[in-house]
């Protein structure tokens, strides 16, 4: 049993997630006391219902589905930013998520300082960052600006820097949310090449994306989420074909 589990990078077991939607959120003691008498303002919304899936080591998986189907929530659960109400999620190995690029960038610090800060959020040590800093700067193509404060960057430059840090963390599992559209076409192609390279290295990757072209080119498996449930799970080509047919 133990050995069989070793093949998997991510195991999701019967996960349920509901969000409490407050029509009028109580944050203070006074409001909370008042809330005791008027509970009806709270609404439960089920985002994910009884999701179970296993992702093998080295598998590249796409999560597809319309807006609000729970893709991003599933990714957040895997990163441990939020926790499930029921069920459990096991991940093995170092995990990096690119949920939103440049989270935690400090606008007044220089690009170089932000690389250190951002990489340390991903759990790298100083030595590990020192080893990677050249690669990161090289990949971002921002060498002339690297010692300027990040607030002077354009949004494209910002994304490039953030992506370069995340991609160089050397994680075993990469979770990527809607960010294959980083920068200009030249940089996008470069990112794509890098993803393929990482795939060849045997990294586990999970994408959330609406770009069916990149899904077809990159992923071996696709999971279609619909209203918080898995509607289809299997070979990329078949799932994407079904999905495109349905949504048209």
């Amino acid at each position: 049993m133990k050995q069989a589990e070793d093949e998997y990078s991510i195991i999701v077991e019967n996960v349920n997630k509901t969000f409490n939607v407050y029509l009028d959120k109580a944050n203070t003691i006074k409001e909370k006391l008042l809330f005791l008498f008027s509970r009806n303002k709270k609404e439960k919304r089920i985002v994910l219902e009884d999701i179970s899936l296993k992702i093998k080591k080295g598998e590249v998986v796409a999560l597809i589905g319309t807006n609000g189907s729970g893709k991003s929530t599933l990714l957040k659960l895997m990163t441990q930013i939020i926790y499930p109400n029921k069920g459990k999620i096991i991940t093995k190995g170092k995990l990096t998520s690119l949920l939103e690029l440049g989270a935690g960038f400090h606008p007044d610090f220089s690009g170089r300082e932000n690389i250190y800060f951002n990489a340390s959020i991903f759990g790298l040590t100083r030595k590990e960052i020192d080893e990677r800093i050249e690669d990161i700067i090289e990949f971002s193509e921002l060498r002339p600006f690297i010692d300027n404060p990040v607030r002077t960057y354009s949004s494209g430059m910002y994304m490039r820097l953030a992506f370069s840090v995340a991609i160089n963390v050397d994680a075993d599992i990469l979770l990527i949310d809607e960010i294959l559209s980083v920068g200009d076409e030249h940089f996008q192609n470069k990112c794509f090449e890098k993803m393929l390279e990482l795939k060849q290295k045997g990294k586990t990757m999970i994408f959330v994306t609406h770009s069916m072209d990149s899904v077809k080119k990159l992923c071996d498996r696709a999971i279609w989420l619909y209203k918080g449930k898995i509607k289809m799970d299997g070979n990329t080509k078949e799932v994407v074909e079904e999905y495109v047919k349905e949504t048209k």
């Binding site: 003691i29 909370k32 930013i81 949920l99 989270a103 400090h106 340390s120 959020i121």
Partner: protein, 258 residues
């Protein structure tokens, strides 16, 4: 439990950069910069000395020295607890987007304040040297008292920072509580001058033992009360455990609450 330390060790670089950011960020954009670390407590001592010695005629010998041994550790205590009530909300942006051990945030607040306190200790040393008291051999116990205070603050900040995410009132409440505690701690007065029927308040307050400890080292130049100090360290370690349990329970909802 071992996992906690493993995780913290793994993220030590984040802890380090965060502490640096806290220290550097505190005086950013101010004219005098880090000099405020000295200037702030110094001005405070002048204000209190003016009120309690010159106007209210406190009979304490070397009152300014007496005062600074209490006021500087108090500033460490009150700013660490107050700032931990704000840290989660200030960092909400990162918490919602990246995973990292959340306890890094309160721990780096307390650690950066501890570094600040160690820098401010130079003021105490300056006072005792130029005030003619000199430095005693009991200064070897300074790290022990500091350890007691550090552990106490880690425990408290874990609790305060996690609860303040759910009950934002804590941010406003904490200022008043600190003011009350300020007068319930022998900072501007000596614990001996308090009437016997009120002394129990001081004995219940952990900061009493800490400030008396610093005062024994620098002002009275005598052996600290070692048994209460060691007891306080043990209690603080227990508090850290309890704090961590509470923190761990509450942190699961952070991203949704913020």
């Amino acid at each position: 439990m071992i996992n906690v330390f493993k995780n913290l060790y793994k993220y030590r670089e984040l802890l380090k950069t965060n502490v640096k950011k806290e220290i550097r960020g505190k005086y950013k954009n101010s004219f005098l910069g880090v000099l405020w670390s000295f200037l702030n407590p110094l001005l405070q001592i002048i204000v209190y000395a003016l009120i309690f010695q010159v106007i209210l005629k406190n009979p304490q010998e070397n009152y300014a020295i007496f005062l600074c041994c209490g006021l500087i550790p108090w500033t460490f205590f009150s700013s660490a607890t107050t700032r931990s009530a704000f840290t989660m909300i200030e960092n909400g942006n990162i918490i919602k987007k990246v995973y990292f051990p959340r306890e890094i945030l309160p721990i780096s607040i307390v650690t950066s304040e501890a570094v600040n306190f160690m820098i401010s200790t130079i003021i105490i040393l300056g006072f005792v040297i130029f005030g003619g008291i000199g430095i005693s051999k009991y200064i070897v116990f300074y790290p022990l008292v500091l350890l007691a205070q550090y552990l106490l603050l880690i425990g408290l900040s874990l609790i305060i920072s996690s609860i303040s995410v759910y009950v934002r009132d804590l941010q406003h409440l904490i200022g008043v509580v600190m003011q009350l505690l300020f007068y319930a701690t022998p900072i501007v007065y000596s614990s001996e001058t308090i009437p016997d029927n009120f002394k129990w308040i001081l004995y219940l307050n952990p900061m009493t033992y800490i400030i008396n400890g610093y005062r024994d080292i620098f002002y009275n130049q005598q052996m600290i009360d070692i048994i209460p100090t060691l007891c306080l360290i043990i209690i603080s370690i227990v508090l850290c455990f309890i704090g961590y349990i509470i923190f761990n329970k509450l942190q699961k909802g952070f991203a949704e609450q913020l």
